[in-house]
């Protein structure tokens, strides 16, 4: 797990009060209420200094921690955010 994914899963696990793995779809698991979606957007924006635009708002890209990671990497284009293998 890279640093972004770790931070995101930590945020998700705390916010949803449930251990969330990098590939868990927490919306499908019924863990998220609708206020949470907005909180998650605000978290990602403030933590990774980016702006989520409507064009990015494909629900799919926010479904799992790994997908959010890829989204952050795409938006920031930062090499430090590449996945460790």
């Amino acid at each position: 797990m890279n640093d972004i994914t770790r931070e995101i899963t930590e945020f998700l696990s705390a916010a949803l009060r449930s251990e969330v793995g990098p590939d868990d779809d927490y919306f499908a698991l019924g863990l998220a209420d609708s206020l949470f979606a907005l909180e998650l957007v605000t978290f990602v924006e403030s933590r990774f200094s980016l702006t989520v635009e409507v064009e990015d708002l494909d629900l799919e890209s926010f479904r799992t921690a790994n997908r959010i990671t890829r989204f952050v990497q795409r938006k920031t284009g930062s090499p430090e955010f590449t996945e460790n293998r």
Binding site: S13, A14, A15, L16, R17, S18, E19, G30, L31, A32, D33, S34, L35, F36, A37, L38, E39, V41, T42, F43, E45, S46, R47, V54, E55, L57, D58, L59
Partner: protein, 393 residues
């Protein structure tokens, strides 16, 4: 803009001037059930309708703290007027946050200048606190370019006059948001009058009978209409309601104190009684506490901090309670004068009760606040309340 809040800001000073100018007219608006059309124009000319909209879209781009002070000034005079600024701001915030570049350019300047007034149409008969139950249908019109919107919305603030409505509906079972211009065929308005409070807010129930609108009026992809679009509008609404309640509570403390000092019964000023002083002290402390929480919410919002949604709920919860309590105290201390027709305290008392119900009822806010506390104890305690039950918190 990095101006400090307070009267130093021209936008706030202008709102203060506007509020004091219309102060004497608010009771008549309440009695007659509406703001005169001229007042909407004056409010627009004073920049109030576009206060929170960024300058590049023709607004004033005020900071959250300044927007708060503006709403406190207006709320202290007339909740319906503050409500006008609230709904305009809610719709603008949702369009600014989740509209496309084209949608922002199309609607925001007109909303900022007040050429367009907006309504936020979410509530339905069977969907109040739990907005995921909305049944308004947004369906493909068959021509690839339009959708039809069919449903019945209730309690739309300024729904009697709004020219654009941000409507929450369902698109094939997914929550979706769409802008409906109110002059389109199939839109009908049923004015609501004589309700408990917000009597000048020109409320209407709104019928949508297969209203055809271009697909380009859909805001954000289907599925995100509630969590993101309505969510952003409601978050903004709760913030301005919180500050409006701070202003209302402050006005009530002021009126109650002035009356207690001036009125004598049985040879003694009302303020000479300990029990009256206790009422005043309690109201003053609750009000000051609410102001501090509203200020804190403003700080979270200006920093874009992730806790801003919750801090705003906390502020709205405390401020609605303070307004309800301080207005009840004011009516008590004023006695029959508080019960008179056109009594300011009496009007605030009625309006404040409404604030404990709309934009997330107090009990719904408590659920959310407690849920945040439980986060510190992951894995323990019962699971969060069902998603449907929490949308308004």
């Amino acid at each position: 803009m990095n101006r400090a809040p307070g009267t130093g800001s021209p936008a706030v000073a202008e709102a203060a001037r506007f509020a004091s100018e219309v102060r004497g007219r608010a009771a008549a608006w309440d009695r007659e059930g509406g703001l005169p059309a001229g007042v909407l124009k004056e409010a627009a000319a004073a920049g109030l309708l576009g206060a929170g909209i960024p300058e590049r879209f023709g607004g004033q781009g005020v900071t959250p703290a300044e927007l708060g002070e503006i709403c406190a000034h207006l709320g202290g005079v007339c909740s319906a007027l503050r409500g006008l600024v609230t709904v305009q701001g809610m719709v603008a915030a949702a369009l600014h946050r989740w509209g496309t570049g084209e949608q922002r350019a199309r609607w925001l300047p007109a909303l900022a200048g007040g050429e367009l007034t907006a309504g936020f149409a979410a509530t339905e008969e069977a969907a109040g606190s739990a907005l995921s139950a909305v049944r308004t249908r947004i369906e493909d019109a068959g021509d690839g370019e339009h959708v039809t919107v069919t449903g019945h919305k209730k309690w739309i603030t300024f729904g009697q006059v709004a020219q654009v409505l941000l409507v929450l509906g369902q698109d094939k079972g997914k929550p979706a948001a769409v802008v409906v211009e109110a002059d389109r065929e199939g839109v009908s308005r049923e004015p609501v009058g004589g309700q408990l409070g917000m009597r000048a807010a020109q409320i209407a129930h709104i019928g949508l009978d297969a209203v055809r609108v271009p697909r380009t009026n859909l805001v954000a992809p289907s599925g995100l209409g509630l969590s993101h679009v309505a969510g952003t509008a409601l978050d903004h609404g709760r913030f301005t309601v919180a500050w409006g309640c701070v202003g209302m509570a402050e006005a009530c403390v002021e009126d109650a104190t002035a009356h207690a000092a001036a009125r004598t019964q049985g040879g003694e000023a009302l303020a000479g009684h300990q029990s009256v002083r206790a009422l005043l002290a309690k109201a003053a402390v609750e009000t000051a506490g609410a102001r501090e929480l509203a200020r804190r919410a403003a700080e979270f919002r200006s920093g874009g901090a992730p806790g801003s949604v919750t801090e705003t709920i906390v502020a709205k919860y405390a401020a609605a309670a303070a307004a309800a309590s301080a207005s009840s105290t004011a009516v008590q201390v004023l006695g029959s004068a508080g019960c008179e027709p056109d009594s300011r305290a009496g009007r605030h008392f009625r309006d404040a009760k409404v604030m404990e119900i709309i934009e997330g009822a107090q009990q719904v806010a408590e659920l959310h606040i407690a849920e945040q506390l439980m986060r510190r104890h992951a894995g323990r305690g019962p699971a969060p309340a069902s998603p449907a039950a929490e949308v308004r918190a």
